[in-house]
């Protein structure tokens, strides 16, 4: 007799005002397999899983767990049915210990259940290879360790089905490989894993079957062994997409030069120490590293948002050490910030106003004391056409745009003054494949036209595809700068984890 699938979702439909997030979606998860749920941003992966975890109520359709029809009205009900959820950004109480986080919400004793939970943690750690110190406060853990805590949380509640939402987006390649090992152990134990992702290599590496979603509909359910990345990408996006790759470039004179730069973090502890590097015209210098190893401080030092405690920041012959952001921008530094909505745009201002933020004091946009609305408008019209910004009109508040279109507004504004140096922080984070390719192409075009580009990204594939050279930051130190031709995922991964470069 064939056992019933762990989970069956049949004809799930969920709509929100204006969008159908899921349109009669079917999904099946069997015991002992990893199912990849593949799709672009907005394809409906997350809303489908929120339905399964009881966070959303579906408009139509039914869910069966182990062959029995169930109604999942809350996360508590989902946990009771053996479903565990590991969110993209770990849902943990940072100030509490690992054990306290795992004990949170457990039924039973009146007293603090932490002592009981500790032994459970050791048992599960051994069984699945999930090593973590139960008494460590969560804030002291790395992203990979925090994710392990989230997984342990689900397992400690007896999860038979584990949903992982973009689990590798915060991990180094090595940490990702560790995670995959854990997933394989879970398969052996007869558990089922649903892996939400849009990364194809990951799917090929770890999934047994793949369900592809596009615009809320299932466009394919296939065995991993029967398919390949190219076909999957076409299925996911709905058309073929040329991979963006840097071609050989003519590297010119030095544009940005950092000499022995050190700076403090917001908490007043050293964040970057003694960093020296150079970016030349025509070059893309990729900065790889797990977030929180000094990337943010490095960017802020260059763009005039943070002072240095030692060292020198030079843009060609101009000294930009400890200047403010306006001086840096006027000297020719463009900044594509990490946090689009917080730092990149003013959400409540219109598209046109946001596009003019960099130059609204200059004669084109203002006449003495008064602004020139006509100039705003014509500039905005041009930018909307050139960068293909999808917006109802130029007066729409920018916060109503999608992430990709907000990023296009930022690119249009920052590139409008022909900057000498473009500092791009996670420029494609969270964008869909189409917008990602457009942003990457823009950076390469500008480099080819003679700008220097400093690209900070957590996406190692992106760094390797676009960069002329790759620099790696770990714990605020520059671990090494590698030429693209000499750079491998493994080599960079080791540097990201803080191992010294061994020259053979």
């Amino acid at each position: 007799m064939i056992a019933a699938p762990l989970v069956e979702m049949l004809g799930i439909t969920k709509s929100f005002p204006g969008v159908v997030a899921n349109d009669s979606v079917n999904l099946e998860l069997r015991a002992g397999e990893v199912l990849a749920l593949l799709g672009e941003n907005g394809a409906g992966k997350s809303s489908l899983m929120n339905v399964l975890y009881g966070l959303y109520r579906p408009d139509a359709g039914l869910i069966k767990v182990a062959g029995r029809e169930v109604s999942i009205r809350s996360p508590l009900a989902a946990i009771g049915l053996g479903i565990g959820f590991v969110a993209q950004h770990p849902l943990l109480v940072r100030r509490h210990t690992v054990a306290e986080n795992i004990a949170l919400g457990m039924r039973g004793s009146f007293w603090n259940p932490v002592p009981k939970v500790r032994s459970k943690i050791f048992e599960l750690s051994k069984k699945y290879g999930l090593e973590v110190n139960p008494d460590a406060p969560v804030w002291s853990l790395s992203a990979g360790e925090q994710q392990r805590v989230d997984i342990l949380k689900a397992l400690a509640r007896g999860a038979k089905v584990l949903i992982l939402d973009e689990p590798t987006s915060v991990l180094t390649p090595q940490e990702a490989e560790e995670l995959f090992k854990v997933l394989r152990r879970m398969k052996l134990e007869g558990e089922g894993v649903i892996l939400i992702t849009h990364k194809l290599d990951e799917v090929m590496a770890v999934a047994d079957r793949i369900t592809v979603l596009r615009k809320g509909k299932v466009v394919g359910s296939l065995e991993t062994s029967q398919t390949n990345p190219t076909d999957l990408a076409a299925l996911m996006i709905g058309r073929q997409l040329e991979p963006v790759r840097a071609s050989a470039v003519q590297v010119g004179a030095s544009v940005l030069r950092l000499e022995n730069v050190s700076a403090l973090s917001d908490r007043g502890v050293p964040a970057i120490e003694n960093i020296s590097l150079e970016v030349c015209a025509g070059e893309v210098l990729g900065v790889a590293g797990v977030a929180g190893n000094g990337q943010r401080e490095l960017i802020e030092v260059i763009t005039g948002l943070r002072g240095v405690t030692a060292g020198l920041v030079m843009l060609e012959q101009t000294n930009l050490t400890n200047v403010n952001a306006r001086v840096a921008a006027d000297a020719g530094v463009a900044h594509i910030p990490e946090d689009r909505l917080q730092m990149g745009v003013v959400g409540n201002l219109s598209v046109a106003e946001n596009l003019a933020l960099r130059g609204f004091e200059t004669p084109v946009f203002s006449n003495g004391q008064f602004l020139e609305p006509a100039a705003f408008e014509s500039f905005a019209q041009k930018a909307v056409a050139e960068y293909e910004i999808a917006t109802p009109n130029t007066q729409t508040p920018v916060r109503l745009l999608s992430g990709g279109n907000i990023q296009k507004v930022i690119f249009a504004r920052e590139l409008s003054t022909n900057p000498k140096l473009i500092v791009a922080a996670h420029p494609t984070y969270g964008l869909d494949a189409g917008a990602t390719a457009q942003m990457q192409r823009l950076l390469l075009e500008r480099a080819a036209a003679g700008a220097a580009v400093l690209l900070v990204s957590e996406d190692l594939d992106e760094v390797l595809a676009l960069s002329t050279r790759v620099a790696v930051l770990f714990d605020g130190r520059l671990m090494g700068v590698v030429k693209r031709d000499a750079a491998t995922r493994e080599g960079i991964g080791l540097l990201m984890a803080g191992r010294e470069l061994v020259t053979v």
């Binding site: 966070l55 109480v93 509490h96 306290e100 004990a103 949170l104 919400g105 603090n112």
Partner: protein, 306 residues
């Protein structure tokens, strides 16, 4: 010398009791992530309710229960506005303070100037009061509500840090999304903490009107609710710290009486408020690198929103 110390300590403790109940209420509410600036309003409503019931029934237990109930109901209003309707907690709390002051003024008119026929008498704890120095300073001739306040403070510490429910409350104050994802009822927990906090504040008010200064006058809490709120912050949201904080600020108030012959009373009146500012500034400096406020303090929780 010993005499002065003992009497100063004992009087500080007595006055500090008003602050202690309010501060414990603030600690409980804010540990679950709900800021309640309505402390002053809840205390004065509790003071009026306690006095009114004591005046008419003569039953102290009934009076305290009434004060707790009124405090809880007032806090319930704040909870509804800030948890269910997700309105700004600071504005809602301020409104509660003004509502409490105004309402108690209107409803309290007929109690103005009335005497209490029965009193909530001070007692000494048998056995403990014979400990040298400490026995006289803490366990002799104090109000039952003073002892109860210290007991509740210790109890609250045990609940917050040593029990299952405590982890839930603190986690909700830090990261409600994490608690929600594990099936902990965020809304219910916040309601319970806010309303229990209001009940504690109400009892603090009743202590003032029934025991410490047995009378009713309009606005008799005179800003003590605000001091209670800042004690919670000063104590880094730790109930045991709140006991110490209440004692300290109680001491400052007591000093006013002691020093009024030698220093201008107007200056002395400012002292508690000045020291609130000073204490908060010092506390903030001490914790600059490691903030201790519950991370989700003051933020309404909406499922599915980052």
């Amino acid at each position: 010398m010993e005499e002065i110390f003992i009497s100063t300590f004992a009087r500080s403790l007595a006055f500090g009791t008003i602050l202690l109940w309010g501060a414990l209420g603030a600690v409980l509410s804010e540990r679950s992530g709900v800021v309640n600036l309505g402390m002053e309003g809840m205390m004065i409503l509790g003071a009026l309710a306690g006095f009114a019931v004591m005046q008419t029934s003569g039953n102290a237990l009934l009076a305290i229960a009434a004060a707790a109930l009124v405090g809880a109901l007032a806090a319930g209003l704040h909870a509804f506005v800030s948890i269910t309707l997700k309105a700004n907690q600071f504005v809602s709390g301020l409104a509660l303070t003004m509502l409490g002051l105004g309402l108690s003024g209107v409803l309290g008119k007929r109690f103005e100037g009335l005497p209490l026929f029965t009193q909530l008498e001070n007692i000494s704890v048998p056995g403990l009061s014979s400990i040298p120095i400490l026995g006289k300073a803490v366990f002799t001739d104090q109000n039952p509500l003073t002892y109860a306040g210290i007991l509740v403070g210790i109890l609250l510490w045990v609940v917050l840090f040593k029990t299952r429910v405590g982890i839930q409350i603190r986690s909700i104050g830090e990261n409600p999304a994490a608690a929600d994802a594990l099936g902990v009822n965020v809304v219910l927990t916040r309601y319970v903490c806010t309303m229990l906090g209001g009940a504690l504040a109400g009892i603090g008010g009743a202590f003032l009107s029934v025991a410490y200064r047995p009378s009713w006058t309009e606005g008799m809490t005179g800003g003590l609710g605000w001091v209670a709120v800042s004690i919670a912050i000063f104590a880094a949201w730790n109930p045991l710290g709140a006991i110490g904080g209440a004692l300290f600020f109680g001491g400052l108030y007591h000093l006013q009486f002691r020093l009024q012959e030698s220093i201008n009373p107007a200056l002395l009146k400012m002292m508690p408020y000045l020291s609130v500012i000073l204490a908060l500034a010092l506390g903030a400096l001490r914790r600059k690198s490691r903030g201790t406020a519950p991370a989700a303090l003051g933020l309404p929780y909406q499922r599915g929103q980052r």
